[in-house]
Symmetry: C2
């Protein structure tokens, strides 16, 4: 980037340098001055966007193809000014945006963000390092290792995952990818790393509750195990895995000559926030020698508050665990935190070392090369935003905000329970409330559709015990009591209307 | 985010609102004013960083553990100001950074970035949408689909990949992941989608040259095929796959009852930038019914210049293709562009649809849900930076910059060829020059180590025909003639020294 004040090159007068800098053509790289101006405008756009977000409808209601139709059919021949892009962001893109940062976004699980996180992402893009190996930017690796240890402490997770022992943590893009890595390591450990060499040659079984996330089936299929080998273990009325059914399923597979390989337990299922009994499941896995992966993608963040750490009771029996700061911990997507008990097993499963990546640091064995901890080779400096989030908020601040989200959801659950026409579908221990109108599926479906079309808030649904059920998740960065109150008023009004 | 000018809430006087806004605690969410100030400071930091980058040593020389040792052992209890983080970025992080954006970074392949791309990433983080489904933010999907069609046109790729037909493109994180998706789709197509259900149950063979990227072996292992089923097909002296050897390998496997499933061809190998003969390979694949995936991760960008489009000759015979704008096209990591001929085959391979993701748009079949095009479920709005890059530079600007990189590399290759003590290891058709000192491996290794320790530039090595070979890649955003000239002077001086 050319500096703001043009510097004369050797043999060039300051006037020539200045003239050169005025002699700009479309499509030249931005100068520092241009970057500053455009960057300040982009920052201001975000500040305006986030502080006026409430005035926009939460859910986009465009028809398929409407946004594409407004884009030119061809890339421009000549470069355009940044102001044109910022204008089109508002004019073309915004009508097609469902505003995930809106304080009345209660759908799915949140994917919240925050000022420090956005700026961590910005600085990571600006520095633009590629952290595939320790050697390609030592700080990118070492800050990540330390941040994963900080996060472990913040959440009160077991020391088995700490990088100072045989375990350790890594940032993955998503829980889907983390789970895939866990299943791959489990597959290999169960076959003495022979599958890796000769291919899947027997029925390797994976177990999860019938409430598990769709990414488990996807991972089992990707790993070449076949979805027929995924056992949907019965869950209780709450949606939590039944350990007796798990033990029976494992025994049946062993009796039939199949090889149990991994169990995936969930802390906070997507459908109903059920929490699998980790201790009972973990004891089965340890006695059976089966890899236990625990998926706490959304609910794990609750453990920043010591009073909710019971959700992880028994986690020290697991082989791996993941949770997503990019869901509920103010860290913009993507940032999944994945820990393993035995990093050597993971690295052995995913490592390939061609000549062009050989280097002295890797050969020394003293450093972590995170490329061997996940599917992609390249990786950006995602630890920066996690560092900024933990420093901006501090342990105290995170506990305050997460505790407030849970308190708001609990208050909402009380309103539901006290209302004649509504009921809780299952208990709501954390920040997700699953509830329904007593009038049946058609009424509930109509309520969701009415509310979402209004633009005032966004809810999604699930089915629990076969019944159409509304889900309200309180996890937005800017969600306050008044938004939850307004949601409840809108829901009761829609039911009455 | 609270607006800059505190707005009185209902029942609250302006004075109360103002008082409230002054009553800030550590760890509160940033206000809009705080975000503006911190954001402007971050933008200015990047502008300063990029315009003074040349003054820093390219390659970090810290010892393992040196950066981690400077970080506190525990997360802070109380929130800290943004200025503290920016100061630590400089003090703690920068000594451990290898500067990938430095104009004298000639190592590996570049991972370049640019002003418009950095700001596209910033805006994407600020908007913070999650584009897993069309319905979760229609613009996130539709802008991506159109950008992939723009990029196809920019690179002159075959129309079979255009989204208006049965094909289409998607942004993946890396070529490693894109290749994995291609191999999975190939695995399923070869077995009538039965592997997906019952698991790998036969020898499914994958073919690539002995010069192929390490990610191919990784993908074959992840997919459960086993690396024994990856055939390293002989390459010629240049490093390009030998089609006769490929046909023989396929025939041998068929004769032995194995199932050929995919061929991976490369446009620009990592080691020596060899270009596999796509037409000859493609004809074999079509007649054998084998999935052809083409990996043009780095070199593909050369095709923005019509005079280099010969690198893709025969690509219309392929089933899938990927190239990485995040390597050489001024788009910061991550942004791999992946196209398929038959999107239905890819989606069938990767789709799972649980109740909580069902929605009317998906059910209509009229929209693209990109979650079914890759491994992760969640995804951020990466098309924004690609849009900004193509608009900022325009077709003309991109051709000018890419053409200049290639011209500089060609000039460097001429200097090597004309020098008594140096030789080209292989011809250099594009922007990667593989060369060596005639004095043997030890001399070449000493040259690399001397140069990299100097901080003045960064080169990496490979082995070609068993001999230690230096690689110089010209692809940095800010790399100009004077940097390449200085590199050549430093190389000859190190050889003489």
């Amino acid at each position: 980037m050319r500096p703001d004040q043009p510097q004369p090159q050797p043999g060039q007068s300051p006037e020539q340098a200045s003239e050169h800098s005025d002699n700009r053509r479309p499509g030249d790289h931005m100068t520092a001055a241009e970057f500053r101006a455009a960057g300040h405008a982009a920052v201001d756009w975000i500040a305006d966007y986030l502080s006026t977000l409430e005035q926009r409808p939460v859910l986009s209601t465009v028809e398929p193809g409407a946004i594409a139709a407004q884009l030119p059919a061809h890339p421009p021949q000549r470069g355009e000014p940044f102001s044109a892009m910022l204008a089109d962001l508002e004019r073309v893109v915004m009508p097609g945006i469902t505003h995930w940062q809106h304080p009345s976004f209660f759908a799915y699980f949140n994917s919240n963000a925050s000022g420090p996180s956005i700026l961590g992402e910005l600085l990571s893009a600006g520095i633009g390092v590629q952290g595939m190996l320790w050697a390609t930017s030592p700080a990118c690796t070492e800050v990540e290792t330390v941040m994963m240890d900080w996060l472990l402490e913040l959440l009160g997770l077991p020391d088995i995952f700490r990088s100072t022992g045989p375990g350790g943590g890594v940032i993955q893009d998503t829980a889907s990818s983390a789970t895939l890595c866990a299943i791959l390591a489990a597959r290999e450990r169960a076959t003495g790393w022979q599958t890796d060499r000769t291919g899947v040659d027997r029925a390797l079984c994976v177990y999860a509750s019938d409430q598990t996330h769709s990414s488990i089936e996807k991972a089992v299929r990707i790993a070449g195990l076949g979805k027929d080998q995924l056992r949907a273990v019965a869950s209780d009325a709450r949606g939590a895995l039944d350990p007796t059914a798990l033990a029976a399923a494992i025994a049946a597979d062993r009796a039939a000559g199949r090889t149990p390989c991994a169990v995936i337990a969930t802390v906070g299922t997507t459908s109903s926030h059920a929490i699998d009994p980790l201790r009972a499941v973990g004891e089965i896995c340890r006695s059976e020698g089966v890899w236990l992966h625990v998926d706490g993608a959304h609910a794990g963040t609750a453990a920043v508050c010591p009073e909710y750490r019971w959700i992880h009771d028994g986690l020290e029996l697991a082989d791996s665990y993941c949770t997503n700061p990019h869901k509920w911990m103010f860290t913009n997507f993507d940032c999944d935190a994945f820990w393993v008990r035995d990093r050597a097993a993971l690295v052995r499963t995913l490592s390939v070392l061609p000549e062009y990546l050989r280097n002295a640091a890797t050969a020394s064995g003293e450093v972590i090369d995170y490329r061997d901890w996940h599917i992609p080779l390249g990786r950006r400096f995602r630890a920066l935003k996690l560092w900024f989030v933990m420093r901006h908020y501090g342990v105290e601040g995170l506990r305050r905000h997460i505790g407030q989200h849970i308190a708001l959801a609990q208050r909402f659950a009380e309103w539901v329970a006290a209302h004649d026409a509504f009921e809780l579908a299952v208990p709501a221990p954390l920040n997700l409330v699953c509830f329904r109108h007593v009038g049946g599926d058609a009424v509930n479906q109509r309520i969701v559709e009415t509310l979402n079309a209004s633009g005032a808030l966004y809810l999604t649904h699930t089915k629990i015990a076969g019944r159409y059920t509304l889900r309200l998740c309180v996890g937005g960065t800017y969600t306050e009591a008044r938004h939850v109150e307004a949601a409840w008023q809108a829901i009761t009004a829609a039911a009455a209307g």
